[in-house]
């Protein structure tokens, strides 16, 4: 039986967005394509800082060492669903 998407952390680099509660989050797909999106600061593991960070996403394993990720907003360069390497993901503990 297929599992429903769960919440995970996706590794990203963040910088300031256009509003104080917003960041630009940058990451890349499993094929190395970079993507960037505006995200809410509260969606970050470390909301107070920029640089290396983790973004809260919904995701499902999509095969060996791969995850399909539903991003919280549409990136500029890709669709809202991207495939990433499992090394970019981290378990989210509530």
């Amino acid at each position: 039986m297929e599992k429903n998407p769960s919440q995970f952390w996706l590794m990203c680099e963040t910088s300031n967005g256009l509003f104080s509660g917003e960041v630009v989050a940058e990451s890349q797909t499993i094929t190395g394509q970079s993507f960037s999106l505006f995200a809410d600061r509260t969606s970050l593991e470390h909301p107070e800082r920029n640089g290396r960070n983790y973004l809260r996403v919904y995701a499902e394993p999509s095969g060996h060492d791969k995850f399909n990720v539903i991003l919280p907003a549409a990136p500029f360069e890709t669709g809202r669903v991207v495939e990433v390497h499992s090394s970019q993901m981290k378990e989210l503990t509530h």
């Binding site: 039986m1 297929e2 429903n4 998407p5 910088s15 300031n16 967005g17 256009l18 509003f19 104080s20 509660g21 917003e22 630009v24 940058e26 970079s34 993507f35 960037s36 999106l37 505006f38 995200a39 809410d40 509260t42 969606s43 809260r56 919904y58 995701a59 499902e60 999509s62 399909n68 990720v69 539903i70 919280p72 907003a73 500029f76 360069e77 809202r80 669903v81």
Partner: protein
């Protein structure tokens, strides 16, 4: 299926929708109003730049071509005819992904208000869909298409949110489910 005001209240209670601060009540029959926030991003008109959304540098470029403005309590901002800027809703919205057994996911559409539209103000144009799984303040693309300057005041209801039921759990790879005859794919 669009949620009625009673169903919106129920969805808030069941945590299918999170909104902070609490939205204005009473709700309209099939929507709730959202208020204008205090922060704006205003294009720097003196900067000449070509934006290419297919290239990766757009978000960082946008940081450099907009200037931030945060209004204090009681302050307002006047938008001249033909001018454009970005704003945000005061409220932060979360639409968690949920399976049907967990009580369904909701998506939403943001729409303007006719009172502002009659003045020539578009508070949100293009891309109105707030997808299931969204979390954050909603960015408002504001433009004055009218003939006269329009005063914008934070905390005033400038747009409305219409909720729709998402049938089934959204998955990151729907092709996994193509050709399946049962919900579990067996």
């Amino acid at each position: 299926m669009i949620l009625s005001n009673a169903e919106i209240e129920l969805a808030l209670r069941n945590k299918q929708i999170h909104i902070t601060p609490s939205p204005l009540r009473p709700f309209d029959t099939t929507s709730l109003d959202l208020r204008l926030g205090f922060e704006f991003s205003i294009p720097k008109k003196e900067i000449s730049v070509v934006l290419d959304p297919a290239q990766g540098s757009v978000p960082r470029t946008l940081e450099t071509v907009y200037e931030s403005r945060k209004l204090a309590d009681g302050e307002s901002l006047t938008l001249e005819p033909g001018n454009f800027m970005l704003g945000q809703t005061l409220e932060r919205i979360q639409l968690p992904l949920r399976s049907d057994e967990q009580g369904y996911s909701l998506a939403a559409r943001i729409e303007g208000k006719s009172s502002y539209a009659r003045c020539g103000l578009l508070v949100h144009f293009t891309a109105p869909t707030i997808h299931a799984g969204f979390s954050g303040h909603i960015a408002l693309e504001i433009i004055n298409l009218g003939h006269w300057p329009i005063v914008l005041r934070p905390c005033h209801p400038v747009c409305q949110l219409i909720f729709e039921l998402v049938k089934g759990m959204p998955h990151s790879n729907p092709s996994n489910f193509q050709g399946q005859s049962t919900p579990t794919g067996q």
